[in-house]
Subunit: 317 residues, 2 copies
């Protein structure tokens, strides 16, 4: 089994109330791969520039991730993003975005990347997502596809975005973007609208509040793992997606049931909680399986209550 | 057993994307009482004007709520609040606040209201909350006290607010206000700070995202009950408090354990979900016990996942 992911591999400059980094490894495909590599072989597809350090390629290759489809553009520069977070980390300003090698990126997938069992289309231009989906479908093995996007594409390329969403199994989106995409202010209603387009599951990422899953048969929700120390939220959503899609990949041969998706939400939530504890990829790069299991166990208890009966409700005259 | 609540009994003018009401029964004590009346005898303490309709007093008396401590000021006018909600109901503007009879309110509790087992101090001036707490402590029976407040009092009367928080068992506050109160941007950290002041439990209300409970021994979180139709969020927080405190009241004689508090969170969440389905008190006034039980059962499942093992995480080289 293997997972292909297409998306940015980047350098980030990040400032939070707890410190800053001028240039650290980042990007959606990077964060996704570091998380998903716990579950399966991951192949990231995306371009980097001649400035991309061997040490960072080694981090990307953590836990067996295959970097053959990382395309090095020798005379180009790696995608660069700079941002700054507010005091409670719930707001952030983008200070700079330099597409660099992404400006002329045309995905070329190796045979192995095409022959994946599971595909994650991280947030890039919808037309590129569609091209990768074409290639992977031609690969003939894929059984589960998931897609992330952002408000920019809803603003400037909504039709293309909706076209590619129609073709995937699972949409993973921030809750505000899900509302924007569908024009429906109610989250459940927005998710159900997307289910009528084609996907069989919708995940609404809710930042510090966690994430919700909507399928034909129901609604599931998990809060974020409760942390007293959050240092840098950058990449949390893609790390979540890596844990979520990674767990699905382990079970895709037996069918992606609601039980699998619910557990996948727990793995995504656990992985994301580690990501935010330090800057960039620092924490997840050295994470262990035991640490993940311990947080999934804790999440299993976080919303648990006993239905002790009888509880008599009525008139107290 | 009985519950005393002090807080506003009001007329509200509310506009949401789904309709409007020019003058409807509202107020924190009203919403709290309508929810808590399912669990125990409730005695609301608060003033109304000569304009307060008998029909509204009858609504307040639903399910045996005793209105003896509702003080009618014949030549005064009832507290009035007007507000308008944005398209996704997550933002609201206050258009008008007329304190009216609340401007000169001095709580006078009957012997029965003083002799309550459980006290809820809804959002009013902290000095008045302290006076009511004095009276109820003198009553000699009280075993559980909870308090709500708002950003206004944190801004203009923080010392008095902290003084009264030190004396209660449970603080129930919006998450943003909890951050503001403690100056701590992290929610868990903010809640733990309050636990060092005196309370043994802190509930952070998170609006559409649900609510979190922090005690000495742990963290619990429940999402809001998933609804496709939300008409008017006014009073949701006080309705939550009514369900939460109501369930605690049923168990206060045996000790308010974490198990009781967790179930109380579920009852609060269920009650609040009904409140928002229609304007003001309309839905909860005619709610039935069976409807509440059904939603608590559904909430029991909403964050449930199986810890299916073995899940092998590791190196995929």
């Amino acid at each position: 089994m293997s997972i292909t992911v297409v998306g940015s591999i980047a350098y980030d400059a990040v400032k939070t109330p707890f410190g800053e980094r001028e240039r650290m490894l980042g990007g959606a495909a990077t964060h996704f791969a570091l998380a998903a590599s716990f579950f399966d072989t991951v192949r990231p597809v995306g371009p980097v520039g001649g400035d991309f350090a061997d040490a960072d390629l080694a981090v990307l290759a953590t836990r067996g991730t295959v970097t053959d489809d990382v395309e090095v553009v020798p005379d180009g520069k790696t995608f660069f993003w700079a941002g700054e977070y507010g005091w409670d980390l719930n707001s952030r300003d983008t200070l700079d975005t330099q597409l660099n090698v992404f400006e002329s990126f045309a995905p070329k997938l190796s045979d192995a990347a095409r022959a994946c069992d599971v595909l994650f289309l991280a947030n890039i231009q919808p037309e590129l997502q569609a091209q990768v989906l074409d290639a992977v479908e031609a690969g003939g093995r894929v059984r589960f596809t998931a897609l992330d996007s952002m408000n920019l594409w809803i603003d400037i390329a909504r039709d293309a975005l909706v076209d590619v969403i129609r073709r995937v199994d699972c949409l993973i989106l921030n809750d505000a973007e899900l509302r924007q995409l569908t024009g429906r202010p109610n989250l459940v209603s927005a998710a159900r609208e997307v289910l009528t387009w084609g996907p069989t599951s919708v995940v609404a990422k809710q930042g510090e509040y966690g994430a919700a899953l909507v399928t034909e048969s129901g609604f599931f929700s998990l809060p974020a793992y409760p942390l007293e120390t959050v240092i840098d939220p950058t990449g949390a959503g893609d790390t979540f997606a890596g844990g979520f899609v990674g767990h699905v990949a382990q079970h895709v041969a037996d069918g992606v049931t609601d039980d699998v998706l619910r557990r996948a939400m727990a793995y995504g939530t656990a992985l994301a909680s580690f990501n935010v504890e330090e800057f960039g990829t620092e924490r997840v790069a050295r994470l262990t399986a035991d640490e993940i299991h311990a947080r999934v166990d804790a999440l299993h208890d976080v919303g648990r209550f006993d239905l002790q009966t009888p509880v008599l409700l009525g008139d107290h005259r």
